[in-house]
């Protein structure tokens, strides 16, 4: 049973539930403590150690039902197998006449056909055929399981492979014999044909079901990992809307990474303890009487981030993702103010706080979308936030710097640059076209501490890492 638990945990992992080896041990301890008798109790207990969020718990419950449903029939089988091992000597030889008598009524045409053809007789004697004739589902399931093991069904990755694996399993089970027998009977127009066809269909159906279940258990998760991989390398404007949700998760993961680094750095300066050395040193003036106590400074440096995002038509495809990044950032970092602009600029932090991500992005697009005017937007920004910019502030600007040939107001940008700790400009356009046409990027670049091209998640991640290294 332990090995079953382990392979169940494999299944969970492939469904994105993260289970560490320590948790595996916990799960075993839980199973030992609770026993296997009460299914619900065991399920609840395992859920507590293996699933760590309500979402994971839902996944867990589905997997548990799928997995242990299948194993249950297998289980009863295991006992029979044990019986079997003691039976074969008597079974193999002794059974044949008995079975012939019992199945005489049903399998009469088949028996007749077998008597006429040595091949069919051999086929009927095969264990596969026997289990089909006896309608022994357990025997059949075990045989399918064995064949699946042989052809490596666990490696199944994509749903397109289902047919291929079904065929391979059938071949491994010796379905070929059955098939050729059917063709043979067809040629002879034998009355046993319908019977044999029925068996063939049952077998195919069973194998197909088995593959389907295994696919759901093993491959679904892997397909998802594959998707994640692809998504993070695709240019943001090419990602379909339907994957927005998935990308959100990826971005969130990234923003989490960012946030945890932030807090680690902050801790170093944050300790409230007696500064013994200083207390003694200062005490010398009072003849060594430590009259005043001195404390290690609790300096809680709160970094502030102001994020400004262009949502105009020229970056419409990217804006969604830039906003997504903004949203996630605000979600995980304590002090982020977000702004959006095209022709004018406004603060959108409250949208992000109040609404779920899709709704917030929609609202921002609706309110601030339009033609770009960097000049007046910067003016708005300066009016709203310039007073708050100090040496602790990082300003992140997301936009393509295409200003429709208007006044870029570089002076404002320089003002921001001088006051802040860092100005970062992320441009979705490739570096080669910066400065071409109405792009003011090269000029704005002069007033940035750091500017970079950013149009897929991998790049974004790299920039975030760099940013963290340089800010602290």
């Amino acid at each position: 049973m332990q090995s079953k638990l382990v392979s169940f945990i494999q299944v969970l992992r492939s469904h994105d539930v993260r289970v560490s080896p320590a948790e595996t041990l916990d799960a075993m301890a839980v199973a030992t403590t609770l026993g296997y008798a009460n299914r619900d109790l065991l399920r609840d207990g395992l859920a507590m150690t293996l699933a760590k969020t309500p979402a994971e718990e839902a996944v867990f419950l589905t997997c548990f039902d799928r997995y242990f449903y299948q194993r249950l029939s297998d289980f009863s089988r295991a006992q029979e197998l044990a019986d079997d091992s003691s039976r074969p000597e008597t079974g193999e030889t002794g059974n044949e006449p008995g079975e012939g008598a019992a199945a005489a009524g049903d399998a009469a045409p088949l028996a007749a056909a077998a008597a006429a053809d040595a091949d069919i007789a051999a086929l009927l004697a095969s264990p596969l055929m026997q289990s089909l004739v006896d309608n022994d589902r357990n025997e059949l399931t075990v045989a399918i399981g064995r064949a699946a093991e042989q052809v490596g069904l666990r490696q199944i990755q994509l749903f397109t492979q289902k047919g291929q694996f079904t065929r391979r399993i059938l071949d491994a089970m010796g379905e070929e014999q059955l098939r050729s027998a059917v063709i043979e009977l067809e040629r002879q127009e034998s009355p046993a044909l319908a019977e044999l066809q029925r068996y063939r269909d049952i077998l195919r159906e069973e194998v197909r079901n088995y593959v389907e279940r295994e696919y759901l258990l093993h491959a679904e998760g892997r397909t998802r990992q594959f998707m994640d991989e692809v998504l993070s390398k695709t240019r943001l404007n090419n990602i379909e809307h339907m994957y927005l949700h998935k990308v959100h998760e990826l971005v969130r993961k990234m923003a989490r990474k960012l946030a945890s680094r932030y807090s680690r750095k902050r801790r170093q300066v944050k300790r409230g303890q007696l500064n013994m050395a200083k207390t003694i040193r200062r005490g010398i003036a009072n003849d060594g009487v430590m009259f005043n106590t001195y404390w290690r400074q609790v300096r809680k440096e709160k970094p502030q981030i102001l994020a400004v995002c262009d949502v105009s038509g020229s970056v419409a495809a990217y804006a969604k993702f830039l906003l997504l990044f903004l949203y996630s950032l605000q979600d995980v970092l304590p002090k982020v103010r977000s702004f959006a602009f095209s022709s004018h600029l406004g603060e959108v932090s409250s949208y992000f706080d109040d609404y779920p991500v899709e709704k917030a992005i929609e609202l921002v697009n609706w309110k601030y979308g339009g033609a770009t005017d960097y000049g007046s937007s910067l003016q708005d920004f300066a009016r709203l936030a310039l007073d708050d910019i100090n040496s602790n502030t990082t300003v992140i600007i997301l936009g393509d710097a295409r200003n429709n040939n208007g006044d870029p107001r570089l002076d404002l940008m320089q003002n921001i640059y001088q006051r802040s700790r860092q100005v970062i400009w992320l441009n979705p356009e490739s570096r080669r076209v910066w400065g071409s046409g109405d792009s003011e990027m090269l000029r704005y670049q002069s007033a940035c501490h750091f500017s970079a091209e950013c149009n897929n998640l991998k790049q974004l991640e790299r920039i975030v890492e760099q940013l963290l290294k340089s800010t602290h």
């Binding site: 560490s20 916990d26 403590t33 507590m48 760590k52 680690r264 300790r271 007696l274 207390t279």
Partner: protein
């Protein structure tokens, strides 16, 4: 010594009964969690909406086992000096004073500086020792002779870094103090952590805990809870009021009424001698259930439909 040799926690069913005798009606899942926590000596991380009895679970366990309940309320900025231990600075300073006065006697007859320093090294170094240690909740829980129930309340309110501080305590039931060494728990306490899910808890912390999610209870369970807490309410009214609260939870409210509010409401209705729910009575007592003006307005508009048992369209 371990905490798992309590007869009260011998089986899941027994825990359920034990809790019930203290007026805490729980689902089998909750009892299973407590059973496992005790058998495997692991902390429980309890999550769920506010007011479903997360804190109450720890309190009841403490009552059931007759152990002291040590509670640590988390908040932003909570650090080790407030959660783990603190040095008794005042006494430490006095100690240095005393030491200075005694210093002359102790060093009498020492020739030269080297010998004085030599002698100084021979004294026991008690400046940083357990005598000058002021235990805070976490350390206090470790020091209890018979074990304790440690409740770390609203862990999601604390900072990320505080979580990593807890890791050592939660997995090994010990605390490392740089100046002294490692202090192991005399009896490992039973730990409950609660979270309202205002932020994600770090994976490292989650991995060390059993994860228990308590949702709002089913109608039957909530009726049993009300019956045990407010036994005087008659059955029909009880059923009505629980049904009403459940339909309120279907609305989009800022804060859905929790179990504690259902109980408060049952008590208020009892005080007002309400025989059954009518619109006027509900309207005038709605502020017991709902804590936001917006919510009250929203519910007020739907009141009639809600009272007729229909779900608002």
């Amino acid at each position: 010594m371990q905490i798992d040799n309590f007869p009260q926690l011998a089986s899941v069913a027994q825990i359920e009964q034990g809790f019930e005798s203290f007026g805490y009606i729980c689902s089998t899942k909750i009892a299973t969690a407590v059973f496992l926590a005790c058998q495997l000596r692991k902390p429980i991380l309890v999550e769920g909406p506010p007011g479903v009895g997360k804190t109450e679970l720890a309190k009841t366990t403490a009552q059931l086992l007759d152990l002291p309940l040590i509670r640590l309320q988390c908040y932003e900025g909570l650090d080790e000096a407030k959660a783990l231990y603190e040095w008794k600075y005042g006494k430490q300073l006095l100690y240095t004073q005393v030491l200075k006065e005694k210093l002359g006697d102790l060093l009498k007859g020492a020739k030269g500086l080297a010998e004085s320093v030599e002698r100084l090294h021979q004294f026991g170094d008690i400046f940083y020792s357990e005598d000058f240690l002021e235990p805070r909740p976490l350390l206090k829980a470790m020091q209890q002779e018979r074990g304790a129930i440690l409740l770390i309340d609203e862990i999601d309110k604390s900072d990320y870094e505080f979580e990593s501080l807890l890791l050592e305590i939660l997995s090994d039931y010990q605390i490392s103090i740089p100046e002294i060494g490692t202090i192991k728990a005399r009896t490992s306490p039973m730990v409950f952590l609660t979270s309202n899910n205002t932020r994600d808890i770090s994976d490292a912390l989650k991995r060390r805990c059993l994860h228990l999610y308590i949702p709002f209870p089913s109608v039957e369970l909530e009726e049993r809870i009300v019956r045990s807490r407010v036994p005087d309410v008659d059955a029909q009214l009880r059923h009505q009021l629980v049904e009403f609260v459940h339909s309120l939870r279907q609305l989009d409210l800022k804060k859905s009424p929790a179990i504690s509010e259902t109980i408060d409401w049952a008590r208020s209705l009892l005080l007002l001698h309400a025989g059954q729910l009518d619109e006027e009575m509900v309207r005038s007592t709605l502020n017991v259930l709902l804590k936001f003006e917006d919510d009250i307005e929203a519910a007020d508009a739907e009141l009639r439909a809600l009272l007729q048992g229909g779900r608002p369209g």
